[in-house]
Symmetry: C2
């Protein structure tokens, strides 16, 4: 691994001597800009071509599951005798449903096991509710008289937002706080606007910040349908349910339990997958919902397919076995992924803390962390980084329509690049952030001069 210039004992004066950037005089800022430009020129000359955008597992992570392919081995039957090579089984192989239930901490009867994409299950569910109604064709979202709206916790996952945008929803931003979505804001919104039909949530290691929803947030969310009505749906994408870095990971409250207490179990649809457990392109997916929801959804699902690939479900059942098998595997992932997150955070801390530029999250699991740049600078930081060969997720991508009202959030995806690549890319990012921040202060001081 390359040793970053500003980490360890060889920190350059650029970072070593930094004071709070805001405290610098105009001359000091000009001098700082000059030093940063020199550094930036060195980065550019290095001709890097690095990529911090890809929220996907590294080859080393994928290799942890290479035994999957040997799992069928001429034995094609489920424990109930079903020949899994043939048609049928719309809700999936029963052992796969049990595996999904263990993953989500719920009962197997509530789980449907699907194909290689939980995103597809999410689309299919929302299409079903829009086209045919969550439980009743008379309540199909498309039949609402006016525009329908969907709550999007921001920053969030662009593909979630695109699905509801594509179905014609108006998207309303909800702030993410350290304990999850701003529940006061949500309660206010749904109280005053019956055209709000649902909310997207990534409750554990939220994409892109890595936050875990607090117990009280989950409890309050379970009560939202009592305000919003029976036609409202919480889209609970538990994509990172088992993607912990620590041995004592944060525990997400069980939303089904809270909903049962609140009498709102029909209002939440849960999702999970093994995409980031086994194989990103060839895992299996899960949808969990109340019986009423499943009965209704399956009618639409059965029009679209004769059933999922049950042999791939068999591979997964035999390879992962149960939640203990999943946890062992996830420790292998953590051993690869956590050092990458640590390295990103180390660069940010060493490079930006003393200057007090921006802020960032330090997730305890998941696939992303989030950098909050000084207001208005995200686009410029992404541009500067790209100029020096480091590709970042476009500024705004974590907001509906790609519009970050503060132009400050930047998603960083550390899993795919190697430690060496992160060690090369992060100094470029840090330089880009510092340069953009110094220039903004200079512009501001010009105005006031």
């Amino acid at each position: 691994m390359l040793t970053s210039n500003y980490t360890g004992s060889t920190k350059p004066s650029l970072y070593n001597d930094a004071v709070m950037l805001n405290d610098l005089s105009r001359d000091e800022l000009i001098s700082r800009e000059r030093a940063l430009l020199e550094r930036f020129a060195i980065h550019k000359e290095a001709g890097l071509a690095l990529d911090l955008t890809r929220g996907k597992p590294s080859p080393e992570q994928l290799s942890l599951s290479d035994e999957l392919d040997a799992m069928v081995g001429g034995e094609f039957r489920a424990s109930d005798g079903t020949d899994l090579r043939n048609y049928g089984g719309l809700t999936g192989m029963s052992e796969a449903r049990e595996l999904g239930a263990e993953l989500l901490g719920i009962g197997a009867e509530d789980v449907i096991a699907g194909g290689n994409s939980s995103l597809t299950l999410m689309y299919q569910y929302l299409l079903h509710a829009w086209l045919h109604g969550p439980l009743d064709t008379k309540t199909a979202w498309r039949l609402e008289p006016g525009p329908t709206k969907f709550l999007c916790v921001v920053p969030g996952y662009d593909r979630h937002f695109t699905i509801v945008e594509n179905l014609g929803f108006e998207l309303l931003n909800v702030r993410l706080t350290d304990s999850g979505p701003d529940m006061d804001q949500i309660e206010d919104l749904v109280s005053s606007d019956p055209s709000i039909k649902g909310i997207w949530c990534v409750p554990k290691y939220s994409n892109p910040t890595g936050h875990v929803y607090a117990d009280n947030t989950v409890k309050r969310l379970a009560h939202i349908p009592k305000i919003a009505g029976p036609n409202f749906r919480i889209m609970w994408d538990n994509a990172y349910a088992v993607h912990d870095f620590d041995d004592n990971p944060p525990v997400l409250a069980n939303i089904f339990s809270h909903c049962e207490t609140a009498g709102t179990k029909d209002s939440v649809i849960q999702f999970a997958s093994t995409s980031k457990v086994t194989r990103a392109g060839a895992g299996i997916s899960f949808l969990a919902a109340s019986q009423a929801n499943r009965d209704s959804f399956i009618k639409t699902l059965g029009i679209q397919t004769i059933g999922p690939d049950k042999l791939n479900q068999l591979r997964h059942v035999r390879f992962l076995k149960n939640i203990d098998g999943i946890r062992v595997l996830m420790r292998g992932h953590a051993a690869i992924v956590k050092p990458k997150f640590d390295l990103v955070v180390q660069h940010l801390t060493d490079g930006l803390t003393s200057d007090s530029i921006g802020s960032w999250t330090t997730p305890r699991g998941g696939y992303f962390l989030s950098f909050e740049a000084p207001k208005g600078l995200a686009t410029e930081i992404v541009r500067l980084s790209a100029e020096a060969g480091v590709k970042l997720t476009p500024a705004g991508a974590t907001f509906p329509h790609g519009q970050d009202p503060n132009n400050s959030n930047i998603r960083i995806a550390p899993t795919y690049p190697s430690l060496d690549e992160i060690d090369q890319a992060m100094p470029v990012f840090v330089t880009a952030v510092s340069l953009a921040a110094v220039r903004k202060l200079l512009q501001s001081s010009e105005k006031h001069a």
Copy 2:
């Protein structure tokens, strides 16, 4: 194999002595009914539980492809170096697209390789055209002022009909002739009704009759969009493209070529899969369309998934290799399936020809054959067969809304049951047909008495 009572040298008098049923006197009919009831009672006593409904491969057929599971073997890369375990590749692995192209006899650039269900691709395509327009959001089918209609060649495949019914289309029956759909009827319909948006076709070994569309039918179909307009789509489900029984099989005309000549290539969407080549529940699927259609469709597809299971595509590419590999495999299927079709036809011929009751098809490939009962008798024949332990596809199932206007078509699916089972089931069917026919003549003679 059991020897049927009425085949070979031991034909019972019941069939041996039969004359054209219509020529029998009332007394002779009563005597015939009595003999048939005795036979029917024997069938019932046998306590059979047989099933001729399942259009799926037998375990022996599935075993032909069991080597698939060994095909990945730690080598996960496509020829272009792509790690197929990871995300991406919305249109599928390029070698899989080439395989689909060989299967359909077209260029690989026109092919998208998908997941385990071509039915899903069909649904996704029709949803796309309905929701967002085939090529242009302004022409979305759902925005049409009045009801939209879809042509259904009958008898046909119930799952096709259900998709368009589910999207709110009115379904119009089009007669199937020995050369394919009745083109005069189609030309008349689309000339006078611009609300007709498309047609379902299974052009080779049509489900359930086994007909292959004649060259001139394909040519005339390619001209239909010139009458129906650019917003019309031919859904060309070539599900049985390579499912031949003979070494010199019928050749289906290439609809893309005819459409290119007619200037209508944007109006046809082709589908195929390996569901009945390798594995019914775990094959790969293909959609083929012009670039304009693909460009438009991919935008919607990309909202629903990050891409298909490329490892299963890899398995298929390595196992099947190319069209020659597919043809070798399909000869293996034919060796299993053709004797079953032959046995069904033998029973029908031996049991019903001399009485001149009903008619049936003798397909040269595919998965089904079709029995045409005397008008009004299909429901009764299905009921009688079930009473004696032989389950048949419900009468009407091959028509939109399950409504066969003649109540005469019965789909027979010979692939899944064993030869023994067919040999036990067909005498029951033949007896049920004869009994229903005799009773109908008796009722008719009562009226005239």
